[in-house]
Symmetry: C2
Subunit: 260 residues, 2 copies
């Protein structure tokens, strides 16, 4: 929400608009957040990784809702047909596995009880507020802004590459099964991002539309950044989780080994 | 969002429900947050007080919107007539001064440019997400939950008393003029809280309604707490404001003295 407004009112070329969108990623994407450096560098405790996965579930779970909110307001059948696979990617098709199932394989692997994770009871309030802000944004703003807010996917593959190699290399509790979500996103995200970028470059033609698209992408980087800020305050430094939020030891599955 | 559900399905008496509501305040109201202890105890720097006032403007500014959202869904004319004065308290009536004007007298006194404050450009994204969550909650949930979410006012007068004496006593940049907002709320909040409490005690009769009312008040304490968490992370410890958020020195008014 800090975009400077163009004063000369001349729209950018598509190439300049793309460069301006990529600049937002270079300056504000959450790959720059200290929590990610810590997570991928092997400096997180098991409980910090748990807190991250537990909270990030809120974000994963809201993605198909925000995509449905976008489709609900979209009169263009071609756009709806293209957008639909985002929902099936996350929810699964015909009972098949989707991204949310793969995220739950990660929280399983970290020892959580699934019902606890899915209830979101232990999530930080700030996580819920940020992720719900994304849903409301897509529901309430223009279709162009809704599409533009998905463009953080342009920057995701490099982050996921770092995450996969960093987490597999550094943590003995991470294996291929629990990071299946990220492997799969390496293929899915670029296809989605290319489509959405083309849409924005074609449809953001006036200065106001271009500023709205840049503002939407900025907003989305704030949604992602705020989630890591909340984790940092609650579980890293000064480690003061909000009243009622997850404390280490809560929400764990009773495993067969532990029960024996 | 962490309310345990009653298992025996017997509704509480009104007295027990009131006690349960007050217990949420005793355990979760933001008077308990370390930022308030620091603020009222005179341990904040001028820039930390500025960050607090700048961010809290987002909350103040959204109050009349959330009250209008409540009235917009309310078929009961008597409730609308009672609720209306909350809007005029904040927005002012017939061009008269309201709570938002008094908040801007506080930010004026701290040296801010009004247009900068009112643009919310320098506010932390987490502050915007939390305050907008309150607006969306009141718009989307039941009328009972919307009313119950206002019940943090039951706990406000004591906090405002502490704030007035603490800030006047400890900071040479605070005087009666800049804390006019809090003096006025000492009279306004108890009247509102008494009405809303009576409404909730009369209308929350089933176990589900009572749990919804308790959940709504818990949610509201989370909205308030999350704002102080965000301030703490950004401006106290470890002092890492989100990209684009206010940095000391930004958004100040050019005063006559400074210009001379």
């Amino acid at each position: 929400m800090t975009m400077a407004h163009d004063t000369d009112r001349t729209p950018m070329t598509a190439a300049d608009l793309e460069a301006a969108l990529r600049k937002i990623g270079a300056e504000r994407y959450h790959s720059l957040h200290p929590f990610h450096k810590k997570l991928h560098g092997g400096q997180c405790t098991l409980d910090q990784v748990r807190a991250w996965a537990l909270n990030r579930y809120c974000y994963q779970s809201i993605i198909p809702q925000k995509d449905a909110a976008l489709m609900a307001r979209c009169e263009d059948r071609a756009l709806r047909r293209e957008w639909l696979h985002r929902i099936t990617d996350h929810d699964g098709l015909d009972g098949g596995e989707g991204g949310i199932d793969r995220w739950l394989m990660l929280t399983d692997g970290l020892g959580f009880d699934r019902a606890y994770v899915m209830s979101k009871r232990g999530a930080l309030p700030a996580t819920r507020f940020a992720t719900e802000a994304y849903l409301h944004f897509v529901r309430d703003r223009s279709l162009l802004e809704a599409v533009a807010s998905s463009l953080t996917e342009l920057f995701a593959p490099q982050l996921h590459e770092e995450r996969i190699s960093g987490m597999l290399g550094h943590y003995d509790f991470i294996n291929e099964r629990v990071i299946a979500y990220f492997r799969r996103r390496l293929d899915q995200a670029p296809r989605d991002a290319t489509f959405a970028l083309d849409y924005v470059l074609k449809n953001a033609r006036t200065v106001d539309e271009q500023q709205a698209a840049l503002g939407a992408l900025t907003f989305k980087t704030e949604v992602l950044w705020a989630q890591l800020d909340a984790l940092w305050l609650a579980y890293v430094d000064p480690a003061m989780p909000a009243p009622g939020a997850w404390r280490p030891g809560e929400g764990m599955a009773v495993t067969r080994e532990a029960a024996e």
